[in-house]
Amino acid sequence: MSSENAAEAKFVDERPPSLVRQAFRLRRTQIGAVLALMLISVALIGPFLAPFGSTEYVDLPNTLSVPGTIFGTDYFGQDVLSRFLFGGRTILILAILATSIGITLGTTLGLTAAYLRGRADEAIMRALDVVLSFPQVLLSLVVISMFGPSNVLIIFTVGLSTTPRIARIIRGAAIGVVERDFISAAEALGESRKRVVFAEVLPNVTSSLLVEMNLRLTYSVGLIASLAFLGFTPEPNAANWGLMIQENRVALTEQPWGVILPTTALALLTIGTGLIGDGFSRVSAGIDRGGKGE
């Protein structure tokens, strides 16, 4: 016994660090986190640094050299830099809320389908297939033109349209988990279905969930920006990176900053979250293979 304890004492610190910590050991995850944090801080504190108001008129539209501005004026005679500094908050909040809805719904449905299997699984996945069979942009487009663009609606449509994809992924991940014996063990104890799904299955799909969360956040940002491109936006001229690209796109040759700044910001943000997601997926892939001995 004593020898086992001695071996044990050494073994305690051998617990693999949590998924998150492991992921953040990777270079790419660190870079991603730095990028994402950078952009999030621009979005959060930007409004306090802006030299002009978000809708304040500064000079003739699309003028590059305007005294007092660094990047000139945009399509509507507003300061490009100030618009940029103001524009991160909305799109981030929209994207995060939309993703949360998608993740919550998608996870619940995916787990339920995976756990119940059989007809319930079939019914849930068929229903989601119906939603999925409308491409995201289309779905959003139709729904938004039905009710008119509003932030709540955009959040819901974008969230709902990501739901089936998340549900699919989560179901895929959970199918493997529900086959495992600890689920049987919980069932043998007569645990309620709800508890089995959320307390036993859910914690074991977190790696897929994290990867998916990042991916969907990226998609949501892109989708919201694309909707703005197609002219669906609740408040025209609201400072919003996605909308900003669309607004200033026409004048790209005369005033490139109005497009370059938000595009770079969105790209860096999505690259950041993408790298984090990538890190997670690499680490979790390692975990999934971990069982393979020698």
Binding site: E4, E8, E14, D181, S184, A188, L189, N204, G293
Partner: protein
Amino acid sequence: MSNAAGLRIVDLRLNVVATGNDIVDEINLTIEKGRVLGLVGESGSGKTTVGLAVLSHARRGVEVAHGQIFCGDTEVLGLDSEAKRKIRGGLVSYVPQDPASSLNPALRIGLQLLEVLEAHNFGGSDEARKARIKEMMAEVLLPTDDEYLERYPHQLSGGQQQRVGLAMAFACRPSVIVLDEPTTGLDVSTQEHVLKTIRQLTRDHGVAALYITHDLAVIADLADDVAVMYSGRVVEQGEVSEIFKNPAHPYTRHLVAAAPDIASKKSIVGLAGRAQSPGKRPVGCAFAPRCELAEDACRVEFPKMVSVGGRQTAACIKANQKVAVSVASSKAMSTRTRGEPAVELVSVSAGYSGNTVVHDVSLTVRKGECLALVGESGSGKTTVSRAIGGLHREWTGSIRLNGRELKPMARQRAIADRLAIQYVFQNPYGSLNPRRTVGDSIARPLVVDGKSKSGARQVVLDVLDKVSLPGSYANKYPDQLSGGERQRIAIARALVSEPEVLVCDEVTSALDVLVQAAIVDLLGDLRRQLGLAMLFVTHNLPLVRSIADEVAVMSEGRIVEVGPSESVIGNPQQQYTQSLISATPSIERSMR
């Protein structure tokens, strides 16, 4: 039999690339042509790493640090990559552990055979190659018609797949062949055939064979020589008869003592602790921390190989002190009067989506007794046990607990009934929720029963003690534990609700032999102490003799023979049981 060395491994060391820690070191082995060397060891001891090195291959993250490997006259480690490719499958070939995953599911077996020949330019013409394939198929006792070669791997049985693997390995007439646990996962009768084929082929073609396994009985049956590995080192080697009759290294002695044997009623003895992974190994003899003979000298440097006599050598400073393992602890099997029936199955039939796979099974598990339910894979034994545990939906007949009729599914059963029957699962890696502390997992049945978490705490500590684990384990996560420890935790979870019946479903099949012995030991103790009724489901016939009072043999969904284990195994009445027993390799039988 030629005496020339077919395979010679000289001072081989492989490292983990990232850390430079050795996975295996100081490996020196020689196999003569036409002989089989059995390489045994627990999982993690480095057997496969050595086996792959013979093909000059190292897995991702592993590299050869130094050493030489001669296949015939060719040193393979120093070859350039094109030359390496050429010797693989040609000069030296490999038979993998799991034929199902090692045959490409997307390619027809004919093509998979043919491409080896093509890659090594064997035969010169397509006709010659086709003829060679047919010849090989015949040698491994498989059909040679074209239709058969057109099949995909999944259309073959496990045994057939492994024969294809053998055919592939022998196709280019290699002079060295590495077989990596080729029969693990096969049923005994299939295993017997495959082993016979291997023996035949190596002898006929004068091939030097390195046979990697953890199963001592298979080695005893098949090999000429044995090398025992522990923590990346060869600790003992010699001829089969020498090693099994007179194991010199303490580890080897433990291995032999822990191995159940179908040929005798043997009390198997486990050993606590486990081998450490690369980088964490102790200085000196790696086995020292677990060795009852260890002294300070063992912890200074790795012991040199010393000759024990004949061809036998062992890496132990006490190799020549003949000390028996304390097998004395052998606990007498209970011979008291029969207990009351705890669980009774009457005419239980069960199936999956309409297909009946269990027919009319009637069994009785008595209090304080262990009933072993044995059978080959697919015999329906697990379905029966899941029905008892309330985990299988589709069954008819009657299952009674203490005379009370049980509902089919656990959720429909009363809490008391649910807690009274506890299930221990086959795979300790899958039966504990990896995201939950061990303590939480163990306490769960209590919480379901309505106990408070704090009240449960003390019970958890008690039950951990019962499975011989310290209370500090309650805060650990499953991935911090070894397989044996996990299985103890799984047993602890089953015990926490003070059940009357324990259903053990192949609980030792994923464990190394020493750990298996320890778990079996534990289960026996618990049964005696707590008066548990136990259903022990297994495919491992030798084990049955060491644990069960009674045995029921299942085949194709039916019970073919039931009776006291000694009489069923020692003197089987049914032809099926007889063939099963004769196909099971045995050390004792081989040593006779």
